[in-house]
């Protein structure tokens, strides 16, 4: 194709997990380089397979853009000799001089250069600047030096521009660009001559290489679903696994293998985790979701009989390992495992897991909670969790079931790590949610208490995720996570427990923890509910004690206020609120004095209807903070009506504030005025939020 640049960096196998990102990074990196070289180009596309990263630039113009460079000359006051010398050296005439701030300048146009001649340098720059997460160097025998960094050794570089090959030495990797590539490593390892992208794609397709990542992924998905359906099975969908297996093959062949019946006694979670982690096999289920004795696998060449036997055999070896662990583990009770928790470090400054459990015990209240707390971390010492750390909790739950613990306890142990992030669900039972809360609040108090804080993108102890987990538990649980205590009580009790264990925590730990939680709550509402930051701040600051936030109430209110900002009249309320706050903040009136002063004494009784409306709004203000987060997206009709009366009152306030003197000379009138404004401000704060945080009508 005319003015098409095709570049393929052919290397040893690129890790599957990095391929998707490499495609977008390659486009950004190469585009930046093309801009630096002042070339004009159209769209840029990228492709990837295990052994190649490919770029296609459309409409790459043959000549660079004309660039103009402004060159500074002598000062205007310089002699003719200096000026003539400047003109001569720049190849310009006197009429080309430009005068700016007492200096002469000339504009020098650089001549366009041939893009073909720049491609070699652009490729070198591309290799040098491609941001691999982890990369390596290899030895260049000819140059007696190490190569530039790349994900794995580069073996060949294909480059074709405008229909003909580019032949350039890329010194940093010791290779000359060429006009050919290679097919599938095993099925078609031949050389493929390429003159344009269509030829490249078709040539590779014929040589069993799929360079379109998304297409390859879809192909696997469809093939596996179809082959499973033929056997009456469903594939347990796994997005991450699908990405990974797609990145492991140049061409995907899908096969359904068999699990030996003897292993079907293993817990389904163990089966599917072992298959996924060790073998990258997909789990199959029957339509009723019961795990089936089959698996799905993607191979790089067609499956032969010996291969199919091999795939089954390696799974048998894996599962017999798992069975061995399972059998050994079941010889030991969870209590016995739990006794060894003193050998497991929670954190070097915060002692062992056994100490953590002791502290959690100090905030647990019921018998069930004590039992669940005592056993919840026992599985960390099982061989199964040693082998599959991702099954922590799950294994504890399974083993609790085997040793006949109650259903509630089993589920609580299984789910007590939830929610693991902002999008995860909370434990399904109150018991599980409470244990999760104990665990997380203990971690947060201890870690923050010894001065560990996340910085920028670094949060090695996952404090942010822990805090988000706590916020979610508080906001989303059906039951009352805090039971009859306050959040402060839990924090203080844990601080005491730490101190009793001889762990020195900072004196202000309690405050730091509460602030950290409030801050995470803010992020959680902004990101999770897509509520703007000023609305969240208005809501958070409308609560009396910001560090002791009623999270469920705050979240309901954020959602409601966010909705209210979209209504007509919101800006009137905002303006009136600010005005009212400005006035009461300014007044020297002691609002608690003069019990005999009535609203009717106010000089603001200009428009009686509006005062009535304000009254109604004030009276309707009942503190209806529900503990449970309202799930509905739209606030109910009552909210709308409420808001209309507040808006009406706000309009009235704006109107009269211009007309009357609020700080009336008569103390009685002055007090009545101030009280009315305060009542209004109170209603707005209570129902909507502290709107001084909302800076402009469009900020929300």
């Amino acid at each position: 194709m005319r003015e098409e640049l095709l570049l393929e960096i052919f290397s040893e196998e690129i890790p599957a997990r990095l391929q998707k990102k490499a495609m977008s990074d390659a486009i950004v990196t190469f585009s930046t380089i093309m801009d630096d070289y002042n070339v004009s180009y159209g769209s840029v596309e990228s492709f990837v397979s295990p052994r190649r990263l490919t770029l296609l630039v459309n409409n790459l113009q043959q000549r660079t853009k004309t660039a103009v460079e402004r060159k500074r000359g002598p000062s205007v006051s310089a002699g003719a000799k200096a000026i003539n010398g400047f003109l001569k050296s720049s190849g310009k005439a006197k009429e080309n001089l430009i005068e700016i701030d007492g200096y002469y300048y000339v504009d020098i146009e650089t001549n366009p250069s041939e893009v073909r001649g720049l491609i070699g340098d652009m490729i070198s720059d591309f290799i040098a600047n491609m941001p691999w997460q982890k990369s390596m160097r290899w030895y260049l025998e000819d140059q007696k030096t190490l190569s530039s960094f790349w994900i794995r050794p580069i073996r060949s570089i294909l480059c074709v521009y405008d229909g003909s090959p580019v032949d350039e030495l890329i010194k940093s990797v010791g290779l000359r660009t060429c006009s050919y590539t290679y097919g599938h490593r095993f099925l078609a390892p031949r050389i493929i001559e390429v003159s344009d992208f269509d030829g490249y794609r078709n040539g590779l397709e014929a040589a069993h290489v799929m360079i379109d990542y998304a297409k390859k992924r879809d192909h696997i998905d469809m093939e596996m679903t179809k082959k499973a359906a033929d056997l009456g099975l469903c594939v347990m969908y796994d997005d991450g696994l699908l990405d990974e297996v797609a990145g492991l093959v140049e061409y995907p062949f899908v096969h359904i293998g068999v699990i030996n019946e003897q292993f079907m006694q293993l817990p389904p979670e163990v089966l599917s985790t072992s298959m996924k982690i060790h073998q990258k096999y997909f789990t199959m289920t029957y339509p009723d979701s019961v795990i089936a004795p089959f698996y799905g696998v993607v191979t790089n060449i067609p499956v032969t009989e010996v291969m199919s036997d091999g795939l089954n055999r390696v799974l048998r070896a894996r599962l017999s390992d798992a069975s061995f662990f399972y059998k050994e583990d079941l010889d030991v009770t969870l209590e016995a495992f739990a006794q060894r928790l003193s050998n497991v470090v929670f954190h070097e400054k915060l002692g062992s897991m056994a100490q953590k459990i002791d502290r959690m015990m100090s905030i647990a209240s019921t018998k069930d909670e004590h039992r669940a707390t005592a056993l919840c971390k026992a599985d960390l010492l099982t061989q199964m969790v040693g082998e599959f750390p991702e099954l922590q909790g799950t294994i504890g739950g399974i083993y609790a079931g085997v040793q006949d613990e109650s259903h509630e306890l089993r589920i609580a142990i299984k789910e007590h790590y939830k929610p693991v992030n902002a999008t995860d669900t909370i434990p399904s039972s109150l018991l599980g949610a409470r244990i999760s809360f104990f665990d997380k609040i203990d971690s947060l108090v201890g870690l923050l208490g010894v001065g560990i804080k996340p910085t920028g993108s670094k949060d090695p102890f996952a404090l942010r995720r822990t805090a988000i987990g706590i916020v979610k538990l508080l906001c989303e649980s059906d039951g009352n996570i805090l039971d009859s205590e306050t959040l402060s009580w839990y924090i203080d009790t844990l601080i005491t427990a730490y101190l009793d264990q001889g762990v020195p925590l900072d004196a202000n730990t309690g405050e730091v923890v509460k602030e950290f939680l409030t801050d995470r709550f803010r992020t959680f509402v902004i990101d999770g509910l897509e509520v703007s930051s000023c609305v969240v701040d208005a809501v958070i600051n409308s609560f009396g004690d910001v560090s002791n936030l009623d999270y469920p109430a705050a979240i309901n209110k954020s959602r409601k206020t966010h909705y209210l900002t979209t209504l007509d009249g919101f800006d009137v309320v905002r303006t009136a609120y600010k005005r009212a706050i400005g006035i009461i903040g300014d007044t020297r009136v002691n609002l608690s004095e003069g019990t005999d002063v009535q609203f009717r004494d106010t000089s603001m009784i200009v428009a009686n209807d509006a005062v009535q409306a304000l009254y109604a709004a004030c009276l309707a203000a009942n503190n209806s903070s529900s503990k449970r987060v309202v799930k509905e997206d739209e606030p109910n009709v009552a909210d709308d009506e409420d808001f209309r009366s507040v808006a009406q009152a706000a309009g009235f306030i704006l109107e009269v504030c211009d007309k009357v003197l609020i700080n009336d000379p008569d103390p009685k009138v002055r007090l009545a005025n101030a009280r009315l404004l305060r009542k209004f401000a109170h209603v707005v704060r209570d129902r909507i939020g502290d709107l001084t945080y909302v800076t402009s009508p469009r900020a929300c």
Partner: protein, 285 residues
């Protein structure tokens, strides 16, 4: 059917034909062929180097009293180290599999990312585990660093798991069923005939019987001796003390008396020794 020993013979022959010195195992306990000075120390100088050898490996914690068919505390690696890595190391490796008898048209060979790291030796590299029909049969690594020192010439290390390859090629399910000498009937010797009792008794030793006092004392002695020898600029004997200390730590670890904090401390001590040895080695070149 190819015997266990024939796999070794063929690998030795293949790498002999490709210029490697065929060495014998290091005669002290190591956790991997990487610990052989022919890998670590030799990776750090500026000379051409190519060697291949079988290395028995000891990983005390992996013992299962011979009850587990695939996990043992003692097993064999076939180790290849070539420096600098040639221009076509993957092709050479695949050819070596063919030499052993793999049918490339019938088996799914894949290079699956696995960046190798050995914290005790301060060594790291990039590479893959090589899968054959889903089974890991080889670890393939381009060293970048040893003893915390960057490699000025990057070697390739290819480590074959001999039992894995043998179970695969012989179609058996257990290491102990591997036919060692290729004979049938009365003369057949299996892996189990050679190593079953060894595996059982060493599992007992590693997990239950080894004297913690003696092991702890040994660890201290190896550490002191390593430093003393370094002071005399005897790098290779010092390095040997370092890997003995490492094995001593592995035994203590298997005895289950090392807490997680202590564990990190032991690893740091071994790494400090390894680093000093590598440093001394580079300085003495």
């Amino acid at each position: 059917m190819i015997s266990f020993q024939d796999i070794i013979f063929r690998l030795q022959k293949f790498w002999d034909e490709h210029g490697c010195a065929i060495l014998q195992p290091y005669d002290t306990e190591v956790g991997a062929g990487t610990s052989h000075y022919a890998t670590t120390l030799k990776a750090l100088d500026n000379q051409y180097w190519a060697a291949a050898f079988v290395q028995p490996c000891r990983r005390p914690k992996d013992g299962r009293y011979a009850d587990n068919p695939n996990r043992t505390q003692y097993y064999y690696q076939f180790q290849v180290i070539i420096k600098p890595a040639p221009a076509n190391p993957q092709e050479l490796y695949l050819d070596s599999l063919k030499a052993v008898g793999f049918d490339m048209a019938a088996h799914d060979i894949r290079f699956v990312e696995d960046d190798w790291e050995n914290p005790s030796l301060g060594a790291a590299g990039l590479g893959w585990e090589v899968w054959c029909d889903g089974m890991e049969i080889t670890q393939y690594t381009y060293f970048q660093q040893v003893g915390g020192i960057n490699c000025s010439i990057v070697p390739v290390e290819i480590t074959y798991g001999l039992e894995r390859i043998a179970t695969f090629m012989q179609g058996v399910e257990s290491h102990f069923d591997i036919n060692w000498n290729g004979k049938e009937g009365d003369q057949k010797l299996t892996y189990g005939d050679v190593l079953l009792r060894f595996e059982r008794e060493f599992s007992c030793y590693n997990f239950d019987a080894a004297s913690i006092d003696i092991l702890s004392k040994h660890f201290e002695d190896y550490e002191v001796e390593c430093r003393r020898l370094l002071a005399h600029n005897l790098v290779m004997p010092a390095y040997e003390q370092c890997i003995k200390a490492n094995h001593g730590f592995n035994l203590l670890d298997a005895r289950g008396i090392i807490s997680v904090t202590e564990r990190a401390g032991y690893i740091a001590r071994v790494r400090a020794l390894a680093k000093s040895c590598c440093q001394a080695w580079v300085e003495s070149l």
